[in-house]
């Protein structure tokens, strides 16, 4: 009986399991083809091709050093000066990993929020207006309006609306991280990449951040790297499991957490390693 079950499990478990998306309501907005990332001679990512559905939250999980952050940072070419990235990154039909792509224009569409809240040493208002001013938006009225909507979307407006001219460095960690989200969405990107945005936050702030992300899904496609599996399970539609530079499994979040196809995924999500 025992042995039989094990054999059955082993047979059911594939080595890799990566689905192709086919949801007409949420077409693929971003995908990678044959993506490889090298740090010097070391290959940090080699089998990591994924598709991301628009206006959904996709989570990238996996143990430390599995390549998930490397993958995420390659998506908006933040790895350009650190690593060599080969292969295609298709964004709405355009390969944005070509040398001829204007990365600055591209990053306006594919924004990023980092692990550590990193507001500038400027006022809350100026933090959000920063990228807008760089793009020539200078009208006070227009700026006011965008600052307000961005802060509202990031669920921070009610807490800071009277302190817009105070330094952003005075905010708590959770507030600062939501300010960074507000700052990123002020330029209305298409896609928002988040690199472990809650790892420096306490549970309450994490909960608020997750609520914010769920409400942002309506306007943005969100790809989030997280160490916290419960977080991935709570907020994402799709989950990719990275291990040792490869995507071992990519499927709907419920599939990954309830009925994973790959043994290693199963071990990881049930807490056997990582």
């Amino acid at each position: 009986m025992f042995v039989n079950n094990d054999v059955k499990n082993a047979m059911a478990m594939e080595e890799r399991h990566v689905i192709k998306l086919s949801d007409p309501d949420h077409p693929v907005i971003l995908s990678t083809e044959d993506l490889h990332v090298y740090y010097g001679k070391k290959e940090a990512l080699f089998e990591g091709d994924l598709e991301f559905a628009s206006n959904q939250i996709s989570a990238l999980i996996g143990p430390s050093g599995s390549g998930k952050s490397t993958y995420l940072r390659s998506l908006n070419r933040m790895n350009d000066r650190i690593a060599t990235v080969t292969g295609k990154i298709m964004y709405r039909g355009v390969d944005i990993n070509q040398p001829s792509i204007d990365v600055y224009e591209m990053r306006r569409r594919v924004g990023m929020v980092f692990q550590r809240p990193n507001p500038f040493a400027k006022s809350i208002y100026d933090n959000i207006a920063f990228a807008l001013r760089l793009r020539g938006v200078t009208g006070k009225h227009k700026l006011d309006e965008i600052v307000e909507t961005s802060l509202k979307q990031a669920a921070l407006w009610d807490q800071v609306k009277d302190d817009l001219n105070k330094s952003a460095l005075a905010l708590s960690g959770g507030q600062a991280q939501r300010l960074c989200i507000a700052r990123a969405i002020a330029i209305k990107p298409d896609i928002l990449l988040l690199d472990e945005p809650a790892s420096a936050l306490d549970p309450v702030s994490t909960g608020q951040l997750e609520d914010t992300l769920l409400s942002l899904k309506e306007h943005y496609t969100i790809i989030i790297v997280t160490h916290n599996m419960q977080q991935a399970a709570r907020i994402s539609e799709y989950t990719a499991f990275f291990n040792q530079g490869r995507v071992l499994e990519y499927d709907t979040t419920s599939h990954i957490f309830t009925n994973p196809s790959v043994q290693v995924t199963s071990d990881y999500v049930s807490g056997n390693f990582g």
Binding site: M78, Y104, G111, F114, N118, F130, A131
Partner: protein
């Protein structure tokens, strides 16, 4: 019970490590006291000598600071000794400010290149070159100034070629490495996540440097410039070789003039201790010392302001 006492005795015994601790503290405290004593002694000595001009030679402080003619051995038309230090004070400030103005853009530009644009080349080529510039003795700078800068100035602007302009050129090269390496330190201290945040928002590298990195590094950059100014203000030998050493109010950038330091170095060996001539030079030294304290104070104030942000 016995074991408790044993333990207590053991814990209370001065161990070798504890003795070493006391010894270490003693050594560093002695070193500190010695340095404090030296600084106090220098200030005390220069001050006592410098004040003698006003106390025993009865020169008024105002005459000293505002008088335009410097000739300590001679009594002027009003019967008082001519110890007007204004030409030297003006010369010192002029040369300091001018060289800082010229050096700052070059220094910050180099620092930006070293740190932001090409860190590899910066570390391999520019860093050693800057360090080399620091190590060149000032007499070499002065000599090059004398044999290259002064004739060039003479050829272009006429006159003797000695003056504030030549001094500025020499000092510019001399303070450049100091300001550059301190600016580079200031840029290096700007956290990497500031740059990432800016780049991820679609800012170009130049926008990131200009709007984020330089802004965040401003207190450090100001400190670098003030340090450079302090160095320029105190530099004696190289300046003395190219400035012309005429204790006159500089009426143009190419007329021979002098600074506090150049008058000190040329004059101090030719006067008798205790004479008015000698005391007047000590007064100049006192002004120099006071100014370097002021520069230090400014650096500290900037540092504190930077931390508060």
């Amino acid at each position: 019970m016995k074991t408790t006492e044993q333990l207590e005795a053991k814990l209370k015994r001065r161990s070798k490590a504890a003795k070493l601790e006391i010894w270490g503290r003693l050594v560093s405290l002695t070193a500190l006291m010695l340095i404090v004593a030296v600084v106090v002694a220098i200030i005390g000595f220069v001050a006592s000598k410098g004040i003698a001009t006003f106390t025993s030679n009865h020169v008024s402080l105002w005459d000293f600071l505002s008088g335009k003619s410097w000739n300590p051995g001679v009594n002027g038309a009003n019967g008082k000794p001519e110890v007007g230090a204004l030409p030297m004070i003006v010369g010192s400030f002029l040369i300091t400010i001018l060289s800082a103005i010229v050096a700052t853009p070059f220094a910050i530009g180099t620092a930006v290149f070293m740190n932001e644009i090409s860190p590899n080349k910066g570390a391999k080529i520019l860093q050693p070159v800057t360090e080399l510039l620091v190590g060149i003795p000032s007499v070499v700078y002065g000599f090059i100034g004398l044999s290259v800068v002064v004739p060039t100035t003479r050829a272009i602007f006429g006159g003797s070629g000695f003056g504030i302009l030549s001094g500025t050129c020499v000092l510019f090269v001399m303070i450049l490495p100091t300001v550059t390496s301190m600016s580079a330190d200031a840029l290096r201290a700007v956290p990497r996540y500031y740059r990432e945040a800016s780049l991820a928002l679609g800012a170009t590298q130049w926008q990131t440097i200009y709007k984020v990195v330089l802004r965040a590094a401003t207190p450090g950059l100001m400190t670098a410039v003030v340090f450079g100014m302090a160095r320029a203000f105190g530099e004696a030998l190289a300046v003395q070789m190219v400035i012309g050493n005429a204790a006159l109010m500089p009426n143009s950038l190419v007329s021979p003039s002098s600074t506090l330091t150049s008058v000190l170095t040329t004059g101090i060996g030719n006067t008798v201790m205790g004479s008015l001539q000698n005391n007047a030079l000590w007064s100049l030294a006192l002004v120099l010392l006071f100014m370097s304290l002021v520069f230090n104070l400014i650096i500290r104030l900037i540092g504190r302001k930077g931390r508060l942000q």
